[in-house]
């Protein structure tokens, strides 16, 4: 029987990998997700036939089904209720529960073990540390994503030496648990201290950098699951945990590259929102910024053949995605080619802007990645930038001393006319002025994103 169960676990792991492969194209992605769900169902059903569980009798099954029902109901509620704009919080929450589950499983296994092996104890300690850091770190991430705590408050002096000390204490406690595995109390003390470490590690990371932290915590939750797999000597946990661990690492690297930051730099919370060097805002903007109106932009559209819309964080904040969809359709009806340029860090997490626009019924083949669309700006009549700043700042290409030097940007300044919808000239996360706003071919449309787009739709209709 145990062999059959292990084969079922193998089938589940294969389905997970196939599911991830299918996730590489939007046409097959839904099917890929379903393959993953089927794999999970197989794994759960097979586990119900486990010898230990059968021996536990009715009470065991009742407890298991109660847990499945409660967790399933909570999960389904979250999944159905969550707003697409809150997806970073949702993912952080799921990361946290994943880490928490690993801590509990490892704890239970340690209690149950009569003659624990070295593999079991070391893996248990790893589960405890990684899992607790993931759980509490994710809760901090949720709080910070909602801007409930200011970055200044959480960057108290001496936090780095303090984290280092707490980390060393974790390792010492871990060695203790490995050495005397029957001291259960020590395991829970380790969990508590690791929890503090999780708070300390994620707290100083700036709100704007939080998506990197969420991707990294995603990776940790996978590693915690893999560690739990070593505790139980279970292949499916090890395989799946490594897949998720790899996924999180890749995504955090992509984000760091797109933000021109090193991972170490993001994690220590040293940059981001702090004063930057370079020319002052006055010297960049004075007397050169031209502001425009809905009617004027509508007239620009009238003579345009190609328009590229560049949505940024501001679009998500002002919930303008539906209004933008209306504008794009209106322009297309007038025979104008419309495409969307999506920077890798547009929105609040990797790929977030695509989800927001997909929710507003914008076809995904209109959503172009940066490398694909950049060469086309030269033949674009109007680039319409909505609530984006740093990701369209040409300084990244021109000034090697700038804090964003070398950061990949969308080359909107090469379009014939650039219209920037923005509430003010205030700087973005990098804290530097943007010469694009003062460029000869740029027009500033000062307004809230959604209101500006709605007014634009009206103005285009009246042409």
């Amino acid at each position: 029987m145990q062999n059959a169960i292990n084969l079922a676990y193998l089938a589940a792991s294969v389905l997970f990998i196939l599911g991830l492969i299918k996730l590489s194209h939007p046409r097959t992605a839904v099917f890929g997700n379903q393959l993953g769900a089927i794999g999970m169902l197989i794994a759960i059903l097979a586990t119900l036939l486990d010898r230990q569980i059968i021996q536990s009798g009715i009470s065991g099954y009742v407890t298991i089904f109660a847990g499945l029902l409660v967790g399933g109901a909570i999960g389904a509620t979250f999944a159905l209720k969550v707003k697409m704009t809150s997806m970073p919080e949702m993912v952080a929450l799921l990361n946290g529960f994943g880490g928490g589950a690993s801590v509990l499983i490892a704890g239970a296994a340690l209690h149950d073990a009569t003659d624990p092996t070295l593999q079991l104890t070391v893996a248990t300690v790893a589960s405890a540390i990684i899992g607790s850091v993931t759980f509490w770190g994710s809760l901090v991430a949720i709080v910070k994503l909602q801007d409930l705590v200011s970055d200044k408050f959480s960057r108290f002096p001496g936090r780095q030496p303090l984290s280092a000390v707490v980390g060393l204490v974790c390792i010492a406690l871990g060695l203790w648990v490995v050495n005397s595995p029957d001291s259960f109390a020590m395991y829970w003390i380790l969990v508590v201290v690791s929890s503090i470490l999780g708070l300390l590690l994620i707290m100083p990371i700036g709100g704007a950098d939080m998506p990197v932290a969420v991707a990294l915590l995603n990776s940790y939750s996978g590693l915690a699951a893999a560690a739990a797999g070593f505790v139980l000597s279970n292949n499916s946990l090890i395989i799946t945990g490594s897949l998720v661990g790899a996924s999180g690492i890749i995504l955090s690297q992509i984000m760091c590259k797109a933000m021109n930051r090193s991972l170490a730099n993001v994690l220590s919370g040293t940059v981001g929102g702090e004063s930057a060097v370079g020319p002052s805002a006055d010297s960049v903007y004075a007397g050169k910024v031209k502001s425009t109106s809905a009617e004027e932009v509508a007239m620009l559209f009238e003579s345009a053949r190609r328009v590229v819309i560049v949505p940024g964080y501001g679009l998500a904040v002002s919930q303008a995605q539906h209004a933008v969809r209306d504008l794009a359709r209106l322009l297309e009806e007038r025979g104008i080619e419309v495409e969307f340029a999506i920077h890798p860090v547009a929105g609040r997490m990797p790929g977030h802007m695509n989800v927001l626009l997909a929710e507003a019924d914008v076809a995904y083949d209109k959503l172009k990645e940066m490398d694909e669309i950049n060469p086309s700006f030269e033949r674009t009549d109007v680039a319409l930038v909505i609530g984006a700043n740093d990701v369209v700042n040409p300084v990244a290409r021109t000034d090697p001393k700038s804090p964003i030097a070398g950061m990949p940007i969308l080359d909107v300044d090469k379009a014939r006319t650039v219209v920037v919808i923005k509430r003010s000239l205030s700087p973005g996360f990098a804290g530097i002025p943007n010469p694009l706003f003062a460029a000869d071919n740029s027009l500033m449309y000062f307004a809230d994103g959604r209101k500006a787009i709605t007014d634009l739709v009206t103005a285009v209709k009246e042409l």
Binding site: L23, S56, G98, G229, L232
Partner: protein
């Protein structure tokens, strides 16, 4: 020790598979990738179910909470991923 080497081999190989597979996922789908990978990391539910099966009350309680946590991951993860992916449409 032999068992450990076997498991560790699987672990390292799976990381390579992970890198190869995930690198092919386009940025367009990175958010569903994150929620979807969360869903499959709910495989810890298997471990949680086994820890319920022992007669010890404490581990049964720990196992129960772990099942709830993991099941939130599984159901929440797959459902929210489906919700997102279903919105991605081609121009018809």
């Amino acid at each position: 020790m032999d068992d450990f080497i076997m498991l560790f081999t699987i672990f390292v190989m799976a990381i390579f598979v992970g890198f190869a597979v995930i690198n092919k996922v386009p940025p367009l789908l990175h958010t569903p990738l994150m929620s979807g990978s969360n869903a499959i990391s709910g495989i810890t539910i298997v471990g949680a179910m086994i820890s319920i099966a022992t007669p010890n009350t404490l581990t049964t309680i720990l196992g129960f909470i772990a099942i709830v946590f993991a099941m939130i991951n599984v159901v929440g993860g797959f459902m929210v991923t489906h919700r997102m992916l279903a919105m991605f449409k081609r121009k018809d």
